[in-house]
Symmetry: C2
């Protein structure tokens, strides 16, 4: 039994090594590679993906998983999730998988052109194809309550559409009037245009995330066009960001990506080179990027500590700006068109809109030709501003061109979970406020590591959340948090 267990672990380690190599090659492609290296790199990535896939879906892995299920229960290892991944992977014919990859590659450039030209008709055939392929993908599975469950499950294993719908209904019910009431508080934010010298942005970002737990022996921070976090091992975390002299977003980007990185870095070393060596789901991951970016990085105690040195680092922009004005500017709630630029509160309405449309697409009631109209109508209903064109409307996101349906909701689920976890941490560590004011974040980091990060994918996302916060996903703490914060910022 022990021998077969070692055999399983060795096979899974091989696959994990390939997946990590793939991630590193992708990071390199985006951050380091000379531009003309693209086509061959694409082929290399496809090759590694194919080999990893073929090794994983083999009959032998299935047999080992079956045989070892009882034995494993006596060990500090759990491969229920792996068995689930294996079953899902086997159900998708490789022709369909290749067709999806090919369609996504073709659609990407068309989407980019359509977005630039606000030309939905140009993109429509590719969107239709992406949806058609995704329907065939859904058809590979049974046992789901509704078709969208199959999509959601890829990012949030075990999560049901009905559950998300309930949580988002509550969020929407609270958030739409709240934003109408207390959003759009005006203020003089002209100073936010900078100048923000990019060297100082980099230095300050690094200084902040080093306090959070970024350790140069295990982390890098580099520049790219669309920031993300990647990793090739728990001790090899690659954060990326971008700098622009008329924008200080980079500071929050660095904290956001650092949150993702700390999660991957904190997975227990005993899980290294196993399929469990990852954050457990997209929403749990996003809860950590949001926690560090928003709950820590936009908080008063954080700025009580950092504002003096921050102001000194950017004298041209901030000489006449006091801390309160800065705090209000970075917490300003104001409806806008572009999701990725949205503030902490309105962001969720962007997500709910997309989640609803995706459900209607895969529920079958929506004709894709009507998508722009529906988008615009509902956007105005939720956010109170009319959409001037499809460039800043239905065409703004890359996700659908690549068939990435089911991903959007995890962003807001992450927001919701971030506050559930935060409340729990604050209950356990009552002097966090004072620690932040002293520029100390290690205790929060340690708490998150012990209670969440170290678990990796050992339990399901639902079990993981249950362990950390003692219950299922719940929008109320997040709504309460937003209500308190926004109300405090509104004029008396």
């Amino acid at each position: 039994m022990r021998e077969r267990y070692e055999e399983l672990k060795a096979r899974l380690a091989t696959i994990h090594d390939l997946r990590r190599a793939q991630e590193l090659l992708f990071w390199d492609q985006t951050v380091m590679m000379p531009p003309k290296g693209g086509p061959v790199r694409g082929a290399q990535l496809t090759t590694i993906d194919r080999i990893a896939h073929d090794l994983f879906v083999s009959d032998e892995i299935g047999r080992l998983l079956d045989d070892l299920a009882p034995y494993e229960e006596s060990l500090d290892y759990d491969s229920d999730g792996t068995r689930r991944d294996w079953e899902k992977s086997r159900r998708v014919p490789s022709e369909l998988a290749s067709e999806m990859v090919g369609a996504a590659a073709e659609a990407h450039d068309v989407w980019a052109q359509a977005r630039a030209e606000s030309n939905f008709a140009l993109f429509l055939p590719h969107l239709e194809r992406a949806v058609e392929l995704k329907r065939r993908y859904i058809d590979c599975f049974d046992g789901y309550d509704e078709p969208y469950d199959a999509l959601l499950d890829d990012y949030e294993p075990g999560m049901k559409t009905a559950e998300v719908r309930a949580v988002f209904e509550e969020l929407k019910r609270e958030l739409v009037p709240l934003i109408k009431d207390v959003g759009s508080v005006e203020g003089d934010d002209a100073f936010m245009a900078g100048p923000w010298p990019t060297d100082a942005q980099h230095a300050f970002s690094l200084q902040v995330i080093e306090r959070f737990g970024f350790d140069p022996r295990s982390f890098r921070l580099d520049v790219t066009v669309h920031p993300f976090a990647a990793s090739s091992a728990t001790q090899d975390i690659r954060l990326t960001t971008r700098y622009s002299p008329d924008d200080i977003t980079s500071l929050f980007t660095a904290m956001h990506e650092c949150g993702h990185g700390l999660y991957e870095h904190g997975v227990s070393p005993t899980l290294e080179r196993t399929p469990l060596c990852h954050g457990v789901s997209s929403a749990l991951h996003e809860s950590q990027s949001r926690l560090w970016e928003n709950l820590v990085g936009r908080s008063r105690p954080f700025w009580n500590h950092f504002y003096p040195s921050f102001q000194a680092a950017f004298p041209e922009a901030l000489a006449d700006v006091d801390q309160e004005r800065w705090y209000r500017a970075i917490n300003r709630v104001k409806p806008s068109y572009i999701r990725v630029d949205a503030d902490e509160a309105t962001y969720n309405l962007h997500i709910i809109l997309r989640f609803e449309l995706e459900q209607e697409i895969f529920g079958g009631s929506l004709d894709l030709r009507d998508l722009p109209e529906l988008w615009n109508a509902r956007f105005e209903e939720y956010l109170g501003i009319p959409v001037p064109n499809d460039t800043v409307g239905v065409l703004q996101d890359v996700h659908w061109s690549g068939g990435g349906f089911g991903y959007f909701p995890t962003y807001s689920l992450g927001n919701i979970i971030s506050v559930q976890i935060w409340e729990r941490a604050v209950a356990d560590l009552p002097d966090l406020h004072d620690q932040f004011e002293a520029g100390e974040f290690q205790e929060l980091h340690r708490w998150l590591r012990t209670n969440l990060y170290s678990l990796g994918r050992k339990f399901t996302p639902q079990e993981t959340l249950e362990r950390v916060v003692g219950g299922p996903i719940d929008a109320r703490p997040y709504v309460r948090y937003l209500r308190e914060k926004l109300t405090a910022l509104a004029p008396a």
Copy 2:
């Protein structure tokens, strides 16, 4: 037949993709990776190496190679080299291959400590093991004239020890007295200690290699501890260098690594993602790094163009140094202990010493315990200076700790070949001198690309050389070149 041919190409492309990914992961490990990522990266590299090896030595590849041999002759493709690689790879049991990798990893740190302490006895057991394993490796093959042939063949396929011996004998016979005669011409080179601001070194290096053909759309230049060139595709070339403010070696390092890079970059795009997409051998590769570094980069016409701007870029070091003094300093021939710091001429004696010792080790006549004594005696005989300790003597190189026997000779073979190719290029392009004085190097680059680089591994190294220079390896042009250059620099 066509279908089986496509099958073979697809399998070889997969293996090539894995090898390139391995090379990129190694580059990343050395240049980019946070230090604590090392252990897992090691495992990832081992995994990819194992998968690529297993895919390559499969029976099916052998069958395809056999079946397709007649068919291929009608195509613009040649897999004789691939068949040869396949046969060699199959002969080495994977246990032996693993044991060699493990022994090398263990020996590395011991060697580093032994070198630091000048403690040969500490290193001796590991050297004995490395030699023993290499003997077993040699025993995997038959058909060689002498054992050392098997080692040489890994780096210089088809080259015979007897051939190298003959070429090196001639080189040694000419070089030892020449260096005694005209070497060690003294000069006031104190200015070479700098200061050389490292930013200016980087800028000047880039400026020079961009003239050679370094194109940022397809190349990178980064900093590392032990410079090398790597590539993940013909359009993705990674050069590395290092900077020190008291040393201007980086300029020659950049030209050297650029030569390697131009070779890989110039392989015909039709060979991309095939096993032929590489420089053909270590010696041919080294001929190109040396050609750009020495024959171009240490030449008078080169400096006639660059010296004024070079002097302006380093005013503190060079304000009082005229071009002739600079030229003499960078072409100074002076025996020294460390191979990697040796000048263009004495370098070869370092190599010949190692080649002779390696042959004696594998010829069986040498007791490894006597190695330091033998090293020191022969070093003094060839270079005229006594070796003070093993740190700068027999322990200076990393190669033997990793079992890298047979590699050293390719460095000097590269020097020899560089002048054979150079003479041919000069014959075809009679105004190269004027072009260099005008700062133009594209025509030389184009010539090398057409006549050498584009061929990749399509022919054997011997056939390749024959095509480029019209004959086999020949030390005489190199000896003539060194004699003329050194004599001209000697006092009248």
